[in-house]
């Protein structure tokens, strides 16, 4: 639904615009300052032009990505069909053994993947997801995504090593800093507090056995 209903910021009325609607809006603002007009009129705005631009001028890299995803789907379909043939069918299996449904699923993957590929060849590209916090006018920030992935993996491996609170501090603090939290020490401090509170509530009070780790092992309050 109106996927790119967000216009380029340049088109927005400048701060302090003087339309009558705006005047009402400002009067209603209890804080007085920060006029309502300062925000880009995002809802329902711009539609056609913005949407068209986003699609026709899709970067070539994005298009390659589309083909790769559709290709992977087709490949997965083929794999499912081939691998289904290796499922052992015991003599006790009834009329329809354990292979039949996987064949159907593989077939569906294959066919739907091919349909997407045909659509791509005919110029039908996917519409990206929109959301409140998604800025449609920026390029994909691969570095942030990769860093988040690394932090996540590190979180997984620290749970058993250093305990859940440490792993949680790493995940929350690290992600927040990668996403732009400044200063970094405040993010870390918040992460420590949050991790300990969760450990206390879920581990100590609700009885989930989150490993407290070597540092907090002795504190019975934190043990699940």
């Amino acid at each position: 639904m109106s996927p790119s209903s967000v216009g380029p910021p340049g088109e927005s009325p400048a701060p302090g615009g003087a339309s009558p609607q705006v005047a009402t809006g400002r009067r209603a603002d209890p804080r007085g300052q920060d006029p309502v007009t300062e925000e880009v009129p995002l809802t329902g705005g711009t539609g056609p032009s913005g949407a068209a631009a986003a699609h026709t001028t899709a970067a070539p890299r994005r298009r390659i990505g589309e083909y790769v995803v559709a290709g992977v789907t087709v490949a997965l379909g083929v794999f499912v069909i081939v691998d289904a043939g290796t499922i052992v069918v015991p003599g006790s299996a009834g009329t329809m053994g354990p292979r039949a449904f996987p064949y159907l699923v593989g077939g569906l993957l294959l066919i739907s993947g091919v349909l997407v590929l045909i659509g791509l060849l005919r110029g039908k590209f996917g519409e990206e997801d929109d959301g409140e916090d998604v800025d449609p006018n920026v390029r994909t920030d691969w570095k942030t995504v990769a860093l988040l992935g690394v932090i996540f993996v590190a979180h997984v491996y620290t749970i058993n090593l250093a305990g859940w609170p440490v792993a949680a501090t790493l995940l929350f603090g690290g992600s927040a800093i990668v996403l732009g939290a400044r200063p970094w020490w405040r993010a870390i401090a918040l992460a420590v507090v949050l991790a300990l509170v969760i450990q206390l509530v879920f581990g100590g009070l609700l009885g989930l056995s989150l490993p407290p780790g070597p540092f907090l092992e002795g504190v019975s309050l934190f043990r699940g």
Partner: protein, 519 residues
């Protein structure tokens, strides 16, 4: 009237102080999380699943009922006060509600949405109370092939209608079916697609997939294109008097009722969920607006009251096939099924017999939750506004942390968290290239059930495929696929046209204000 007495018993259960507290907790946390931008009802429930791991079944179901309605409710606050539309079902609300807020009528928009949600939620819950037991009684008579037919209907409508592109929806559905295959075949005990990983022998947990797709995938996607800078929330005037003027009441009550009348039936059929209902209600209100017609696109209160009621009524309607047939028709419903299953409860026609007290406690808590929401939320708007302003880096870091906690707490195995990340990356690419994630979750849950029904049908018929289509119900179901999909796609195309029109309207308004600026 034994249903009435059963319902009364349900109320008696919920009225116990402890359970009332759970209900209050559910609606509160559901609204709080639902208000958070970027978190729709499906993700709200997925993220809050671990909260209930240590509760007893009744308490957990009561908390879930609260979270479900609260999450729906929170979404409208977000879309009215934040500058971009979020969760799909409340986008229509965003169009008019946001305009109203910018005109300084945010409080009225919030109030009509809240009261409309309450009216629609209550009426729809009454309808649910009346319809569900009848439906369950009827559903008991259905045979294996009938259920298989119903699931095929759900697959096709969900795949074709829960997204913007039919072929991509089918890909998502097929991926979900594939994930559902993983694990040990229930009938023969053979391992399928486990790749030798012991954690996969019991199959992939739907919780991990749901949290991975909705929470981790979403967080990664938003992170890739995060809107930096301060968050702009439209301020709401304080004081009770400005909420709803007499004229607002006069203009709102009919849309509330009409929205309910549209939302509930649409919710009960597998036709794309609440999106379609809100859009239909919006179109209806616009047509019937009379002298206020020119206000549409500029902040018409009918455009908030109707769709918001339709949204909530549809949310209750979705519970009818969910409770009586075990058929999830939206992503949110699919996650509710997971929540039920984690307590060993299988929604379906037998549920009203085997778990009667639980079901009626659930329905009673829907009434109670609805009441709590309106009492709780109108005065608390100021607090939700604060929640909306939460810095985005902490918000998405928090989503990642709670997602990881939820999947770790399933089995206390770090491997699960790693699988969560893999699913999250898949979700990231799906979002990026326009594949809807909801059909994947539905496919994963319904896939194994459908296979089971199919194999049992064929065992009964000794391999005769015609058995699948010869029962009158199954035959009707297969024919209705054509009708539902045809109708659904027609509605979608109208929706697109209407949206384009709305965007144009928005453009005009902006140009106007710009030209005035120049003068």
């Amino acid at each position: 009237m034994d249903n009435l007495s059963a319902l009364m018993e349900g109320f008696a259960t919920v009225a116990q102080p402890m359970y009332l507290l759970y209900a209050l907790f559910g609606v509160f946390i559901g609204t709080a999380v639902g208000v958070l931008p970027g978190i729709g009802p499906a993700m709200t429930i997925a993220l809050l699943l671990p909260l209930t791991y240590s509760l007893d079944a009744t308490a957990a179901i009561i908390v879930f009922a609260g979270i479900y309605y609260g999450g729906m409710y929170g979404g409208s606050t977000t879309s009215i006060l934040l500058n971009t539309p979020g969760e799909s079902a409340s986008i229509v609300t965003a169009l008019e509600g946001h305009k109203m807020a910018r005109l300084g009528r945010g409080a009225a928009a919030l109030a009509t949405a809240a009261i409309g949600s309450f009216v629609a939620g209550t009426i729809a819950t009454v309808l649910l109370t009346l319809v569900a037991p009848v439906m369950a009684k009827w559903a008991v008579q259905l045979g294996e092939p009938d259920y298989f037919a119903l699931m095929i209907v759900a697959f096709i409508t969900v795949g074709a209608l829960l997204g913007k592109s039919v072929s991509r929806g089918m890909v998502a559905l097929a991926l979900g079916l594939f994930l559902g295959l993983m694990g040990t075949d229930t009938l023969t005990g053979q391992q399928r697609f486990t790749f030798g990983v012991p954690n996969l022998a019991d199959g992939l947990s739907v919780v991990i997939v749901a949290v991975g797709l909705f929470a981790v995938g979403e967080a990664l996607y938003v992170a890739s294109r995060l809107r930096h800078g301060p968050v702009h929330v439209i301020p709401v005037e304080k004081g009770w008097r400005s909420w709803m003027k007499p004229e607002d009441w006069r203009r709102s009550w009919k849309p509330w009722l009409r929205g309910t009348a549209i939302g509930f039936p649409v919710g009960t059929i597998p036709a794309g969920g609440a999106d379609v209902a809100t859009f239909l209600s919006y179109a209806t209100e616009r047509k019937l607006a009379g002298k206020h017609k020119d206000q549409f696109g500029k902040g018409a209160i009918e455009g908030v009251a109707g769709p918001e009621s339709a949204n909530n009524a549809a949310a209750s309607g979705v519970l009818v096939p969910l409770l009586t047939l075990g058929l999830p028709t939206t992503a949110t419903a699919a996650i509710i099924i997971v929540a039920f299953q984690s307590y060993g409860i299988q929604p379906g026609p037998m549920l009203f017999q085997t778990q009667s007290s639980l079901v009626w406690a659930l329905i009673a808590s829907l009434y109670v939750g609805n009441l709590m929401l309106i009492v709780l939320n109108l005065p608390l708007v100021g607090m939700w506004v604060k929640v909306l302003q939460i810095p985005r880096h902490y918000l998405y870091a928090g989503i990642l942390l709670f997602g990881a906690l939820g999947s770790y707490a399933l089995n206390f195995s770090p491997i699960d968290v790693l699988i969560l990340l893999v699913i999250g990356v898949v979700g990231f690419f799906m979002r990026r290239y326009g594949y809807p994630v909801a059909p994947m979750v539905v496919g994963m849950i319904l896939g194994p059930m459908a296979e089971d029904r199919l194999r049992r049908s064929l065992t009964i018929s000794q391999g005769d495929l015609s058995y699948l289509v010869t029962s009158p119900f199954a035959a009707t179901a297969y024919v209705s696929i054509l009708v539902i999909v045809g109708l659904g796609l027609w509605l979608k195309s109208r929706e697109k046209r209407a949206n384009a029109e709305l965007s144009r309207l928005g453009e005009e308004i902006r140009e106007e204000s710009q030209s005035q600026e120049v003068n």
